[in-house]
């Protein structure tokens, strides 16, 4: 029964993975990758790790893939075009190396004696949520805290990278009733990335600084 499940989900995972690599449209690749994640979550359940399976579905198939699909949709990614292969002369060497690696793997699987003391697959509390929580907050407390700092750094990094280049520097002080421009806006050639604020106090002054002309020159009376 377990073997049947393993074959089913392993086939699903490999099929989805191959389809992910073969697809030329990134959106179809993403959907295939979600298939791989789901299949792996099912395999985790057969390995008596229900918590990891749930986290796999929630974090990977949920959060990360939603983010990826969101970016694909946002950037309107087009299909990859087919390109000529480069370094064609290296293909025979690559095939030979791959054959050597495969032969090594087969040798290890079939000729190296397996550890006879491998415990049987029985029911235990390993993999239940309570044991994971216990381990996470006792033995592995330091890695847990380091991970939280890593997440904080990721948040800050993602915000810094993805925001539109801010108009003003963080030190800029906006004076009430004044119009503030970054220097970069006024002279793109000279002040690249210089976001020091320049203050003007009227619309006319601002237009002069920006080099704009009034299109509709209605005389003010």
């Amino acid at each position: 029964m377990l073997a049947l499940l393993f074959i089913l989900f392993a086939g699903l995972a490999i099929g989805c993975a191959v389809s992910m690599v073969v697809q030329r449209n990134p959106l179809y690749s993403a959907i295939s990758l979600i298939g791989v994640f789901i299949a792996l979550a099912c395999l985790y359940v057969t390995l008596a790790a229900p918590f990891i399976a749930a986290v796999q579905v929630i974090v990977y198939a949920g959060a990360i893939m939603v983010l990826v699909v969101f970016v694909i949709m946002l950037l309107n990614v087009e299909d990859e075009e087919r390109r000529p292969l480069r370094l064609r002369s290296l293909i025979p060497i690559a095939v030979m190396l791959a054959a050597a690696l495969f032969a090594e793997a087969v040798f290890i699987i079939f000729f190296v004696q397996a550890n006879p003391k491998t415990p049987a697959h029985t029911v235990s509390d390993i993999g239940m949520t309570s044991s994971i929580g216990g381990g996470l907050f006792t033995t592995y407390l330091l890695p847990f805290e380091i991970t939280s700092i890593l997440l904080l750094m990721a948040i800050v990094g993602a915000i810094t990278l993805a925001r539109t280049g801010g108009l003003l520097s963080p030190r800029a002080v906006v004076v009430p009733g004044a119009q503030v421009f970054a220097r970069e806006m006024l002279d793109r050639e000279k002040y690249i990335d210089d976001l020091t604020p320049v203050t003007t106090h009227s619309t006319e002054e601002a237009e002069k600084l920006l080099g704009l002309e009034h299109k509709d020159q209605s005389p003010k009376t």
């Binding site: 992910m20 395999l43 990891i52 959060a63 990360i64 950037l75 390993i126 750094m153």
Partner: protein, 101 residues
């Protein structure tokens, strides 16, 4: 017939190899990114299989941390992808080669 440990390890190796091949043959940044996620998942499968067969909790905790790192990587990586796209109007890795000698 009960699945052996080696079955899971073989599946993990196959998935990892598919991920490596994907990183090598893909030209789109987002596709390469997804192939890296696939490799991380292949390693996770190895961890969970060992953890389950040797009745050791450490493997599953390590998977937990790998998932966190993958989430952080996704956030920062996609931020970088958006920044590159904004500058170069392209997601092709061959177009972003200014660091190449």
């Amino acid at each position: 017939m009960v699945p052996q440990l080696s079955w899971y390890l073989a599946l993990s190796a196959v998935l990892f190899t598919i991920g490596v091949v994907g990183v090598m043959i893909k030209r789109n940044v987002i596709s390469m990114f997804m192939c890296i996620e696939l490799m991380l998942n292949a390693v996770n499968l190895t961890f969970v299989a060992f953890s389950s067969f040797f009745r050791d909790l450490s493997g599953q905790l390590f998977v937990f941390i790998v998932m966190t790192v993958a989430a952080a990587e996704a956030a920062v990586g996609l931020g970088i992808i958006i920044a590159v796209f904004r500058n170069r109007e392209s997601l092709d890795v061959d177009d972003a080669s200014s660091l190449k000698l």
